[in-house]
């Protein structure tokens, strides 16, 4: 039996001091000295006790535990009588532990210094490997972390400071991910990339629904607690959801369903339990389709009657299976959306004929029918009113005047009333609008002059002045209109030779008489009946003859010549002409002869000008002269042309023209140059014996007369008898028929333009026919009209509405050949808030070539689903649908709306819609498979957080 060792009497037990740092080195052998070591670990003992002196005597103080007082007692000097050898003190347990703690602190600080201040500190402080994508991007800490400082720590205790740091770091994320997420200065920092207003808009629906019963407890508590990031104006740092440094295989996009829901007001337990129905959130038919395509009518009728898109596919409504869907629809490259295959692959099979026929047109400028005395020339009988687009081209004053124009006094026919109401097309041939007609006619004629001279830049300027074309891009809407078209509008081809290139009729008698006084003459000149046409004036004005022309047309000069209202100049009576005018006429006459020589020789100056006026479409072949080209029905008169050619050549060389002898006969000039041309009279003007030089209009052996037999059809008759010799004072007499051969401009090629689409002139109007689907000019014009309609300026807006109504012709729709046909399929939406109009050029998911797909929070892979499911499994056709009723076709049903807008489509609100297909029941369709342990029911399976990232 073990013995008891522990003694409990105070005399038997020493008092231990384990708190001391040092213990006596003899402790291990049970003989520790009573003094113990010093505080610094030095032995201070020499015996078993410390004797004390009482009176003169030293007494032993050995404790009872050590045997009590020793027999010998202390020495006389007070030293212990039982000496102990010196010891080496040992550390106490507590002191040892303290040393361990100190060592741990030192080692730890050393470790931290090495880790944080060493060269490999990045490795040491890196909390974990980056994901593969980020690790491969060669990023440094600063790439993702804004510079941190210790001073920042003092403010980090506040939540907003921590958040501020995270937000600052998030900016760095966008250095690389800006394209996916958006600009930080924009909405990228907000939840879903939506600012407060947008979030509020989508939050309203769920406000009343969130309750404790419908909500997972954790979500409910989290959303109701103050823990949430309130007061941050909805801003979220990227790191809120994307946690890095969790390894290369970690997912940066993992979020639980509860985490998704905590910010949402509409909370629920799962996809199959409380998730909003597709109908509630308006999916997939949240709005009217952008392209008006009625599946029911096409499947049920058109396809079977017109064409079968794919062999072996039966079309019927409702369809037997989804095979026919894929004829027009295909998945996008991501496999998500079933997009249209595009116009060419689908609609073009039936609808492209209209483009080939040039069937889709819009009118730009139409000459209105006006009875007025205020304009020069003859105003065409067009049958048009002043339409909305032509109104835009008038001057500001005129447009302002027309805005205040009252109603017509006479009862016009209903069609005109409707056009005036609907399209703003003003019928000017009304007694009450006589003044308006005069103003419009004068304004329009001035416009046409400008257009002819300056080309269609004037159109752009006028349209911009009207606020119709606010963007240069829209100028493409009116590009490519040949200036000749404007000239033809101004001077219709059949109007008395106004637009002809021709020798004008000259008062040769007077002219040569006056020139003869100075020993000069005009030389060869055919008989003509036309005036100096505006077109000829136009040509001459480009040939350094401005001074001469100004003499002719300047009314302030004393003389008899002046420009007529139609822009022509009559030179048939020069009897009252001043000397200056005679000199001017002489210069003009020689220049005209030069022009015809150039025409014959295809010389550049005239040809270029001519081509410019013809809009660059004049094609002069190598084997033909210009004359033959532009006078296809006339033969070239070699003798006449060679005659004037020689005259012009000598004229250019400074040769004095033939003198007019008494009686009007021409003689060679007196100059030295003339002497060497003595043959002039004989050779050049004497080619014929009876054709030239005479002022006798009665000469019956005229140029090309019937009596000339086989030469009767020639323009200038045979070489040997067409021109009278000057000496014989004969003048070639031209018939009206032959003179008409000098008319240059007939817009005969208009038909060719129409055939291939493009700008066209027809019925006193310039119109444009779409050349193909997606015609850029037509599209630009419609966009311009819409832009004007969306203007904040009420007048511009009204003009835009008129143009829309006019050019789009809502009422008639497809029957019309107006641009309205474009909008038979491409719908127009009116934004419910801004009230702005916009055309849907593409379907919701675009075509294979282009896409206007907008960012969406929901994604759905059609590709994965159509593998095992038929299209009709989800998209169940609706029989006897009213799909077409929700597509605007015109007609006013809103009496409260006045003005041109009244006649816009009845409904352009895309939310009002009845699809061709039934709404989906997601519980029956989706939740069957999409459960946690089957196909999954994570929010992120179908929803994206960022709206721009895919």
């Amino acid at each position: 039996m073990a013995k008891k060792l522990q003694k409990h009497g105070h005399r038997e037990v020493d008092y231990n001091r384990p708190n001391r740092k040092w213990l006596c080195g003899h402790t291990s052998c049970g003989k520790e000295c009573p003094l113990g070591p010093t505080g610094r670990g030095s032995c201070q003992g020499s015996g078993e006790c410390l004797p004390i002196k009482k009176g003169d005597r030293w007494n032993c103080t050995r404790s009872g535990a050590q045997g009590g007082e020793c027999e010998g007692g202390p020495a006389t000097d007070g030293t212990c009588g039982c000496p102990l050898p010196k010891c080496v003190p040992v550390r106490s347990n507590r002191y040892l532990r303290r040393i361990y703690v100190g060592a741990a602190v030192v080692v730890t600080i050393g470790f931290l210094l090495i880790a944080l201040a060493g060269e490999q500190h990045v490795v040491a402080v890196n909390p974990g490997r980056l994901t593969t994508a980020h690790a491969g991007a060669n990023l440094s800490c600063e790439s993702c972390h804004s510079q941190g400082s210790l001073s920042a720590l003092f403010s980090l205790a506040q939540e907003d400071s921590i958040h501020s740091r995270a937000m600052a770091d998030s900016r760095l994320c966008l250095d690389c991910h800006g394209e996916e997420i958006g600009e930080w200065s924009g909405e990228a920092r907000f939840a879903h990339g939506w600012d407060e207003e947008e979030r509020a808009a989508v939050s309203v629906a769920g406000v009343e629904k969130a309750s404790f019963v419908d909500t997972p407890v954790a979500v409910w508590l989290a959303s109701k607690s103050s823990i949430r990031q309130e007061g941050l104006e909805g801003q979220l740092a990227c790191s809120t959801c994307h946690q890095e440094h969790h390894g290369s295989d970690a997912s940066l996009t993992v979020l639980s369903n509860n985490q998704c829901q905590v910010c949402h007001q509409d909370q629920f337990h799962g996809f199959g339990d409380g998730h909003p129905t597709f109908a509630e959130i308006g999916y997939p038919y949240s709005r009217r389709t952008r392209i008006h395509f009625d599946h029911e009518t096409h499947f049920g009728g058109h396809f079977n009657k017109r064409i079968k898109f794919k062999e072996g596919v039966e079309y019927d409504w409702p369809p037997a299976d989804g095979e026919s869907c894929r004829v027009c629809h295909e998945t996008d490259p991501n496999g998500e959306y079933m997009k249209l295959k595009g116009y060419e692959a689908t609609c073009a099979k039936c609808h492209d004929d209209n483009f080939v026929r040039g069937g889709y047109r819009m009118t730009l400028l139409a000459i209105p029918e006006i009875e007025t005395e205020k304009v020069t020339g003859i105003w065409p009988t067009s049958g048009h009113g002043l339409n909305a687009t032509t109104r835009l081209l008038l001057s500001d004053d005129t447009r302002e005047y027309l805005r205040g124009l009252g109603e017509a006094s006479s009862e016009s026919d209903n069609d005109r009333i409707k056009k005036e109401e609907r399209h703003g097309e003003i019928w000017l041939n009304d007694e009450s609008r006589r003044e308006a007609a005069d103003i419009v006619a004068a304004d329009l004629q001035e416009l046409l002059f400008q257009l002819w001279n300056d080309g269609n830049d004037v159109l752009g300027q006028r349209l911009e002045a009207a606020g119709f074309l606010s963007k240069k891009d829209h100028l493409s809407a009116i590009s490519g209109i040949p200036a000749a078209v404007f000239r033809e509008l101004l001077f219709p081809g059949e109007q008395d030779g106004i637009g002809a290139v021709a020798f004008p009729a000259l008062d040769l008698t007077t002219l040569n008489q006056k020139l003869g006084e100075r020993d000069r003459s005009i030389g060869l000149w055919p008989k003509a009946s036309a005036k100096l046409t505006p077109l000829m004036v136009e040509f001459l004005s480009h040939r350094d003859l401005e001074y001469a022309l100004s003499r002719l047309i300047d009314d302030e000069e004393d003389g008899a010549i002046s420009i007529a209202k139609d822009g022509s100049i009559s030179l048939e009576d020069l009897s009252g002409a001043s000397n200056a005018e005679i000199q001017a006429v002489e210069a003009v006459a020689w220049e005209i002869k030069t022009i015809f020589v150039e025409l014959d020789k295809k010389e550049e100056p005239f040809l270029k000008r001519l081509e410019a006026l013809r809009g660059g479409i004049l094609d002069v072949g190598d084997s033909e002269t210009v004359l033959e080209k532009i006078f296809p029905s006339a033969r070239r008169d070699t003798a006449f042309l060679s005659g004037i050619e020689k005259e012009v050549e000598r004229y250019r060389q400074g040769f004095d023209p033939p003198k007019v002898s008494e009686g009007g006969s021409l003689n060679a000039g007196s100059s030295g140059a003339a002497t060497e041309d003595d043959s002039f009279a004989d050779d050049d003007f004497g080619a014929g014996d009876d054709d030239f030089g005479s002022t006798d209009d009665s000469a019956d052996d005229s140029f090309g007369s019937e009596e000339k037999g086989e030469n009767s059809d020639d323009s200038f008759g045979a070489a040997d008898d067409d021109f009278a010799a000057p000496t014989e004072e004969k003048v070639v007499e031209q018939t009206e028929e032959k003179s008409s051969g000098f008319r240059v401009f007939q817009i005969a090629s208009i038909d060719r333009w129409q055939g291939s689409g493009g700008w066209a002139y027809d019925q006193n109007a310039i119109s444009y026919a779409a050349q193909r689907h997606s015609d850029p000019v037509m599209k630009a014009w419609i966009e311009a009209a819409l832009a004007a309609s969306n203007s904040d300026d009420p007048e511009v807006k009204a003009d835009g509405m008129r143009v829309l109504n006019h050019t789009l012709d809502w009422k008639n729709g497809v029957e019309s050949e107006n641009t309205g046909s474009c909008l038979q399929c491409h719908t127009i939406d009116r934004d419910s808030e801004t009230k702005k109009l916009a055309v849907n050029w593409f379907g919701a998911y675009g075509t294979s070539e282009q896409s206007n797909r907008k960012p969406n929070l929901t994604r759905f892979s059609h590709q994965k689903h159509v593998i095992s499911l038929d299209c009709l499994h989800c998209h169940q056709p609706k029989e006897d649908g009213d799909f077409g009723d929700f597509f605007p076709r015109g007609g006013a049903n809103d009496a409260s709306v006045i003005g041109p807008e009244k006649y816009l489509p009845t409904s352009m609100t895309p939310g009002e819609f009845s699809p061709n297909f039934l709404e989906m029941n997601e519980k029956a369709l989706c939740a069957t498979c999409h459960q946690e342990n089957l196909a999954g029911n994570s929010c992120l399976q179908c929803h994206s957080y960022h709206t721009l990232d895919h």
Binding site: T27, K31, V101, F111, V125, G148, A152, A237
Partner: protein
Amino acid sequence: MAEQTLKPLVRKLPGIAIVVSLSLLVVGIWLLLKTSLAGAALYSGLALFGLIVFLALFSARKKIPFIPLLRASTWLKWHKYLGYLSIVLFLVHVDFRMPAGILETVLATIFATVAISGIVGLVLSREMPKLMTRAGETLIYEKIPRHREEIRESVKNLVLESEESCRSSTLSEFYFEHLRHYLEERPGILHPFGIEKQRTSYRLLNELEARMRYLSEEEKPLAEELKDWIETKENLDYQASSQRILKGWLFVHIPLTMSLILIGLAHGILALIYGGNG
């Protein structure tokens, strides 16, 4: 019997309830934070660091007993509760994932060591005293060297006495051959966990028992007393080893706690500085 088994459990029930309740509260708050994307790691980290510092104050509290800051036993009780809670807090802070960075791995390892040493210490503190009491007389740790000397001295005197009185060297031979070294040696740290039959004392007692037949009648009482001293030495070794163990775990727990606080502080600073993105 059943009541005796249930009593300790009933006594521990409030503590268990407190620990479980606090743990559930911590996990619940963490879930709320995590669900609300409101910085669960940040808040749990701050709470964990504060908790560790508070737990470390227990050691300081023991060094300043004169300040009336509750009783040490109360501190110890809450040290245990909050120690368990810190483990839960640590797990939610690391999102139940193994840390990957060097600093974080070191920190987690130290935390785990401190936590495990704490638990082991707690278990030892609870269980070792029972074993020590069962083993024999409990001794003051600081007195053990003296007791060892007493035993050695007593046995030596006993052997000398037997040699003188019995004129026999059997016991003295036994002493010099086997016993002297045993009485002077210190036990290993794992002595209490050793198998009894493998202990030196067991072997010596058997040896002495085997020599009993060669002893005279006078020697036998002395041999019996010698046996008692061997058993006493065995108990002394047991007590000494047990107390070394009871004091030894603190050599791991407390120093590493300081390391934990320092590295935790560095981790917190880094996390706050770089915590914006990740």
